[in-house]
């Protein structure tokens, strides 16, 4: 295990930024921290970096307790959401800065800086100052500095959020590969579930200062342990339905009957059923457990897919389908969700596993 938190918490005055977290991140892999704004991603990263000290608990890196060790003495790199570069230095000097501090000779340093600049397509701008660069180039400079340093731990705090959409797409693909060769443990914070999925590796979902789940990205996505994780990892938002257990099985709001597959027995009466927008289908098949009729409020079309916003009872749902569908508002639609795509949560919002 590379980076570990033991009973970590962080409080600033009365505000809890991080609530009691135990976590060990896998070494040498790409880890994504996923959660909405103010869910504690940045606070956690600052504790990882040693920029802030935890209120309780400890941070361990490579088997050593690093709590309280000065930032300068930890071999790490960090890239922020804002474009942070040293304004008085050229791109070359910016990238070279951590190496200069390590007292590398010019001949050792130059090839590394040039290689880093090349990987991030900065070679033509080596002599410019940061304020003479576009936003994308500034952020590439910051990333190159983190890459070249050869740090054991690389922290990327929403580095792509202020960039143009297409540029973001491009860097999103490059980043995991760029850092894969360095052997560093990378932590990447984002608010976008889609980004987490694209980045692959491992994901830790966060909500209200807690890490709700950590594991391989696809496992967390497909088998969230609780409602908070499922919500954090869904874009468009997770569709939700309240259920009650009756003598016959489960019953939804408005007397809706469902053919739920057998779930492990949990001694509670109230449940929440969650299903992702792309699992809410408008064509049925044999495995469907839920059939209902919703009313279209708005349809959004991207050219290849449609987001159909629906109203069912008091709930606002979204169906995300492949293909273009022009549906007028007010139209009634038959909707289907299949059994394998249902997530059932108990009254404590914990996932109820299906019976094997």
């Amino acid at each position: 295990m590379s980076l570990e938190f033991h009973e970590l918490s962080k409080q600033v005055y009365d505000e809890v930024h991080i609530a009691h977290t135990d976590l060990s991140l896998n070494p040498g892999v790409f880890n994504v921290l996923l959660g909405p704004t103010l869910s504690g991603k940045t606070s956690l990263m600052r504790l990882m970096a040693g920029l802030d000290q935890p209120s309780t608990g400890s941070v361990w890196f490579k088997g050593q307790n690093v709590t309280g060790i000065a930032v300068q003495r930890r071999n790490l790199a960090m890239v922020y959401q804002q474009f942070i570069n040293f304004p008085n230095m050229s791109v070359f000097e910016n990238i070279a800065s951590p190496l200069r501090i390590q007292k590398l000779s010019e001949s050792q340093l130059r090839p590394r800086v040039e290689k880093g600049a090349e990987l991030l397509k900065l070679t033509p701008y080596m002599h410019r100052k940061p304020n003479e660069l576009s936003g994308g180039q500034q952020q590439r400079t910051a990333l190159a500095r983190a890459l070249v340093k050869g740090a054991d731990l690389v922290l990327l705090d929403e580095p792509l959020v202020n960039l143009d959409y297409k540029l973001r797409e491009e860097l999103r693909e490059e980043l995991p590969r760029l850092f894969a060769d360095t052997g560093a443990t990378v932590v990447y914070a984002t608010t976008e579930p889609h980004e987490a999925l694209l980045m692959g590796g491992y994901t830790a979902t966060m909500r209200e200062g807690r890490v709700t789940q950590y594991g391989p990205t696809h496992e967390v996505f497909r088998k969230p342990h609780d409602l908070a994780t499922a919500k954090a990892f869904s874009d468009p938002p997770l569709n939700i339905l309240n259920l009650k257990r009756t003598a016959q099985g489960f019953e939804g709001e408005q007397g809706l009957s469902l053919k739920l597959p057998p779930f492990q027995n949990v001694p509670v009466d109230e449940y929440i059923l969650g299903f992702r927008p792309h699992h809410l289908q408008i064509q049925g098949n044999a495995k469907d457990i839920l059939e209902l009729s919703g009313e279209v409020t708005v349809t959004e079309i991207t050219g290849s897919e449609s987001f159909i916003h629906l109203k069912w009872a008091e709930h606002d749902w979204v169906a995300h389908t492949q293909g273009v569908m022009h549906l007028p508002p007010g139209e009634k639609l038959e909707l289907y969700v299949s059994a394998s795509n249902c997530l059932l949560f108990d009254d404590q919002e914990q996932l109820v596993p299906a019976q094997v």
């Binding site: 970096a49 920029l51 000065a70 930032v71 300068q72 790490l76 790199a77 960090m78 922020y80 804002q82 942070i84 040293f86 304004p87 008085n88 230095m89 800065s97 951590p98 501090i101 390590q102 910051a142 500095r145 340093k149």
Partner: protein, 266 residues
């Protein structure tokens, strides 16, 4: 609408320039012409007044003295204000929201009140009539001002810049001198400008704390008024020369002046 827009500043500038013009005008006149007739420009153009100033050591040493203590003051003020402003911009502590107000209370007390204690203090420790004495006394109101201006500029630099440097491995002094100071160079320029300005224009303390050796130019001029009668031409020439350093400084920091105030925290 368009016409009024340039008219107001223009009229104002003309108003500002009139007394200055009159001063310059006089400085090129002979005393006889000044007292003898009223002319809008010098009829007998002369640079004699200036020659007198540049050849008489009591005159030009006044300039040297003034510039010396102003420079010393600017340096001391900045050296003290830089760390103080850094603390204010990077850390939160009780009452820092009213920083500006508390710093300003220093300016509320009249220099006249301070003149006497300063006089006694410096006399006691043998600093009386030295450049450093004047420079130190001017720190009283210049340091708060410099702290306030610098704090504004420093708050404009994200604290993530500091952190990036620490993460890169910079120690605090390395970061402060290699990265932070260049990053707020404009702010240092503006703060220096204001220190220079207030030290240069202040007279009461400067006069009280000096006697012979380091008499500032302003005091030399007062002497002219009182002892040599109204040597108006000479006085005007000396006055004109006191405007020159200020004009130079203002020209150098012209692009930062507006910014300097805008960033200050209240």
């Amino acid at each position: 609408m368009k016409k009024i827009t340039w008219l107001i500043p223009t009229v104002y500038i003309v108003f500002l320039m009139m007394p200055i013009y009159w001063l310059v005008n006089m400085s090129f006149k002979t005393t006889n012409e000044i007292l003898g007739s009223f002319t809008l420009w010098p009829n007998n153009f002369t640079v004699e007044n200036y020659v007198t100033i540049f050849t008489d050591p009591t005159w030009f040493m006044g300039y040297v003295n003034s510039l010396t203590y102003v420079t010393i003051n600017t340096i001391i003020s900045l050296l003290v204000a830089l760390p103080a402003a850094y603390a204010f911009s990077r850390y939160r502590f009780l009452g820092d929201k009213h920083l500006f107000f508390w710093l300003l209370t220093n300016r509320m007390a009249p220099p006249a009140v301070f003149a006497l204690p300063f006089f006694q203090l410096y006399s006691a420790i043998g600093l009386f009539d030295t450049h450093i004495a004047v420079a130190l006394s001017h720190c009283l109101f210049n340091i708060p001002l410099a702290v306030w201006i610098l704090e504004g500029f420093m708050s404009g630099v994200p604290k993530e810049l500091d952190e990036t440097a620490y993460i890169d491995g910079y120690s605090f002094p390395q970061f402060f001198f290699k990265i932070f100071i260049p990053a707020i160079a404009a702010g240092i320029g503006v703060a220096a400008f204001f220190c220079f300005m207030f030290s240069w224009v202040e007279l009461l303390l400067a006069k009280t704390l000096t006697a012979v050796d380091v008499k500032p130019i302003a005091a030399t001029m007062t002497r002219t008024v009182s002892t040599a009668g109204y040597e108006l031409g000479l006085l005007s020439a000396a006055g004109t020369l006191t405007i020159v350093p200020g004009a130079f400084v203002i020209y150098f920091v012209r692009n930062y002046i507006a910014k300097g105030f805008a960033l200050g925290r209240l």
